[in-house]
């Protein structure tokens, strides 16, 4: 304790205080091997999505029918598909819809689930019963099947895939937030905030939310792997991103017909999905070691 204090810089402003905390967190992340590997994989996905036009060697939509189903070569690093499109370039561009789906799903489901769970945990009584039963109902649906049903009712496409996945993704955040809130509801610092005259809304958002965030971040990172798989599954079945958009699941779907004579068409996006899911899982596990206060003394 005293050792930590002596090496600690003294922050002089709010921003500096946050920066120091961030640095400490970053140092812990880098020291943890699984977080580092996971983080690098996820970072690669991010960079790929952002600078796709720069690193792609071909136009992902350009069809050169004479070059159909070419095996990997120096001209086409990962070969070409049945329409003569460059698979490497499609893979690079495919990072965009993948990342977009993940971000949109988390952006919808995490805040919604957190609020439902925190309100349930803080209010208690019939509000809690109502909200948590609702959560249970949504949690009971198998994710892929609900997504399939929804997308086929609405209309296949990226947006509807996002909506379908988000609807099944929020309950886990609600459960998590409720559990954390129940543990914190009568903590002295929450009582102290009440004793200052803070309203219930302010206490939930200002006192309880910050303490739920790290476990929600861990949950979200671990969830992302599942979201990617579900999105790819929808794409594979032709219910997610629509052709000619380069999306990994859809790419596997079209590669399926040529698995025996041109394995690279399905294998390349398959490996990409595997690596990215693995990356998110490793990062999530590592973040849990780093962030979760319950894992420290």
């Amino acid at each position: 304790m005293s050792g930590a204090q002596s090496t600690m810089q003294t922050p002089n402003s709010r921003r500096e205080a946050r920066l120091i905390q961030f640095k400490i967190g970053l140092r812990r992340v880098v020291r943890n091997p699984s977080t580092l590997v996971g983080g690098l994989l996820v970072l690669t996905l991010l960079v790929m999505a952002l600078i796709a036009p720069l690193i792609a060697t071909h136009d992902p939509m350009a069809q050169i029918l004479t070059d159909r189903l070419q095996p990997p070569s120096s001209a086409h690093w990962l070969g070409t598909d049945q329409l003569g499109r460059d698979i490497y370039s499609r893979l690079v561009y495919g990072a965009q819809p993948t990342l977009l789906i993940v971000i949109l799903v988390i952006a919808f489901s995490a805040p919604f689930g957190l609020i439902i769970g925190m309100v349930a945990g803080y209010m208690g009584g019939w509000v809690e019963t109502l909200l948590m039963r609702l959560t249970d109902i949504f949690m009971a649906f198998p994710r892929l099947i609900l997504a399939l049903a929804l997308v086929s009712v609405l209309k296949p496409g990226l947006t509807n895939a996002v909506i379908a996945i988000a609807i099944t993704a929020w309950p886990s955040y609600a459960r998590l937030a409720r559990a954390e809130t129940l543990a914190l509801r009568h903590a002295d610092f929450v009582e102290a905030a009440r004793g200052l005259g803070q309203s219930g809304r302010k206490i939930v958002m200002g006192q309880i939310l910050p303490l739920c965030l790290s476990s929600a971040a861990i949950r979200a990172t671990l969830d992302m792997a599942g979201i990617i798989l579900t999105a790819a599954g929808l794409g594979f079945l032709g219910l997610g991103a629509q052709p000619p958009m380069a999306e990994w699941g859809a790419m596997i779907g079209t590669g399926r017909d040529h698995v025996f004579d041109a394995w690279w068409v399905a294998a390349a996006p398959g490996v990409a999905i595997l690596l990215v899911s693995l990356g998110f899982n490793l990062l999530g596990d590592g973040l849990r070691d780093v962030l979760d206060p319950k894992h420290h003394d």
Binding site: M1, S2, G3, T7
Partner: protein, 280 residues
């Protein structure tokens, strides 16, 4: 004391890895204890609890324990492996911790926890086990042993829980009890009852006791001698009846800063720490 010491420790050092090499939290601790009550007093960070943990073989992982010698009844403790330590803690050394909730098994009835230990030590029938357990519960001053026998730890008040823990520990009739802040979660009335109980047991059964606390007056009333620890080091060893003969400025400062009728409503002297106290 003429007989051989129960526990003798020399040069005990406990350290943890820090950013710039190992940090010693206990330095060069030395103690010989017979069938007597020894208090270890110090403030948070003084290393008193780490000393207790080291004697129990309970220093958590990156921590390193070193000593010139550590002997219980002449048996070398430094060469013990995990099983050896566990046997030692179960049979020879009893421990009482601040919060009974952490040391009793929360999903087991009190009675079962006591009979479980009984089974380890003696081969007696179920009925006899129950009989013995009830006796022990009564012996630690529990008025309705039947109820406590069937209760789970969370159903007991702080004082009751502490008594139940003492009972569970007494079953194996240890030679030495280490009590780390056994009463600081209790209110004054219950505190005195628990202390009285411990005192009776120790005197009657001839058990050695190490009482660890931050409460100097309480330890002084209860123990025979006192070791005062500061930053991992014993700075003074005192006869408990003569607190007023304390010579170390830290001990004197600890005594002086307590509220007393003479200082009522006045500014209490604050303890100014001298870096020189940290070096022997």
């Amino acid at each position: 004391m003429t007989e051989a010491p129960l526990l003798s420790i020399d040069g005990l050092t406990v350290s943890f890895p820090g950013e710039d090499g190992p940090v010693a939290v206990v330095r060069d601790f030395k103690l010989e204890i017979g069938r007597e009550k020894v208090g270890i007093v110090g403030e948070s960070g003084s290393g008193k609890s780490m000393t207790a943990r080291a004697i129990l073989g309970l220093i958590p992982k990156p921590g390193v324990v070193m000593a010139n010698s550590m002997r219980l009844h002449g048996q070398d403790m430094l060469s013990l492996d995990k099983t050896g330590w566990r046997r030692l803690r179960g049979k020879r050394i009893g421990m009482i911790l601040q919060d009974p909730k952490f040391s009793l098994n929360p999903v087991m009835r009190i009675g079962d926890q006591i009979t479980e230990t009984l089974q380890l030590h003696e081969k007696i029938s179920r009925a006899e086990q129950r009989e013995r357990a009830l006796e022990i519960l009564a012996a630690v001053g529990i008025d309705d042993p039947q109820r406590v026998y069937a209760a789970y730890p969370h159903e007991l008040s702080g004082g009751m829980g502490q008594r139940a823990m003492i009972a569970a520990m007494l079953v194996s009739s240890p030679d030495l009890i280490i009590a780390d802040e056994p009463t600081s979660a209790l209110d004054v009335l219950v505190r005195e009852q628990v202390l009285k109980l411990l005192d009776d047991l120790v005197t009657r059964r001839g058990i050695g006791l190490i009482l660890i606390s931050h409460d100097l007056p309480m330890v002084a009333r209860f123990c025979d001698r006192i070791l005062v620890m500061y930053r991992g080091r014993v700075v003074e060893s005192l006869d408990a009846r003569h607190l007023d003969r304390a010579t170390h400025p830290y001990t004197r400062g600890l005594i002086a800063c307590l509220p007393s009728p003479a200082l009522r409503g006045q500014v209490l002297p604050s303890l100014s720490r001298d870096p020189a106290w940290e070096v022997a």
